[in-house]
Symmetry: C2
Subunit: 208 residues, 2 copies
Amino acid sequence: MKRGLLLYIAEKTGLFSELQTSTTRIAEALSVSQQSVSRLLIDLEKGGMIERKVSSGGLAIALKKKGRDQLQNEFTVLKRLFHPERKLKGKVVDGFGEGKYYIEKYKLKIKEAMGFTPFPGTLNIKTDRIKVKSFLMDVDPIKINGFATSDRSFGSIELYRVNVGGVAGAIIKPERTRHDDNVIEVIADVHLRKKMGLKENNVVELKK
Amino acid sequence: MKRGLLLYIAEKTGLFSELQTSTTRIAEALSVSQQSVSRLLIDLEKGGMIERKVSSGGLAIALKKKGRDQLQNEFTVLKRLFHPERKLKGKVVDGFGEGKYYIEKYKLKIKEAMGFTPFPGTLNIKTDRIKVKSFLMDVDPIKINGFATSDRSFGSIELYRVNVGGVAGAIIKPERTRHDDNVIEVIADVHLRKKMGLKENNVVELKK
DNA sequence: ATTACTAGGCCGCGAGTAG
DNA sequence: TCTACTCGCGGCCTAGTAA
């Protein structure tokens, strides 16, 4: 609760200004009792987190350096955690030629969603499942819904825009993975492997 | 405490991987009892924050989406708070000619610290104390220590590199403010007012 | 070794109320 | 009105211990 109150003060003051308010008002905003707010404010003051001036009919509070630092430390920790990777490296691996078949099926929908007609085939890159998650954490995929032909049905896929060696492309993820999810498939409007002169085990770098 | 534990898991797993550990180990790291860790982990699991697999001789934990989202929300809040202003606007106001006198005294030291010889005079800009703090929050000032001549003593000053209309300069802050701290003084190696054709009340923009 | 139950104590919360 | 004290209750913690 103490932390919540400190954050509330930080937000209301924009870190630096002074906030004219009352314990009742804060209590309502945070859904705690007026008494608790009073007590917690005193605690925060004792801890050197805030400055607190009581006057008849209300109080003025402001963050002190220690309080700002406390929050900034938390921010630093979270920033390190959530700072998404800007690059993703992996090695070229051979696919099973499946990609070509599937891309043909989704071709029109991909064109519609991404603005380019995909080359019929995927560049398969072996990397690390966890790195992939961290790399894609901050981007929302473009989803293409599944559909059915007279023969069979095709599941939904997700596309994430990426840049491969200067070419705009996308990571394509089937909703139901066909293989090991340490391998990702990349599409573009050109034959990436040929254009970039890639062979098995060559290192490729993806950017966002 | 619950929050601390969630953060601990997030850090140890890098958000996505699985952590092999034991309640005792976590307890030591967080300075709480093994029993509390056990209970809190169960709570977090019930709340859908983590996944928890108990095996003989230890346990494996991983964050679930809800847990990551919780932390990311906190991150977003703090990010908004700590995202420093990139620009600072203010209006030109007249000084009292004092600046010229002082700059002369500190000239050599400023040259040494900043790499330019300051024009003898300051551009005084009226803005907002709080905006100034927010603008300067993420930069460390260059400090010039005070000194004394045979006549009198001069206090320490702090310099913050800024860009004014394309010119590299600095905000100069005396340790003991001579005037209203809603007014800041800017120096550069040219006569800013003349070079930029500024008159009283014109708006100026500072960048970092 | 482990995890996690039970029991008991402490601490924080809110209701009542004084100033 | 305001803040903040006292006090009783409940939830959270840890110690002991079973499995």
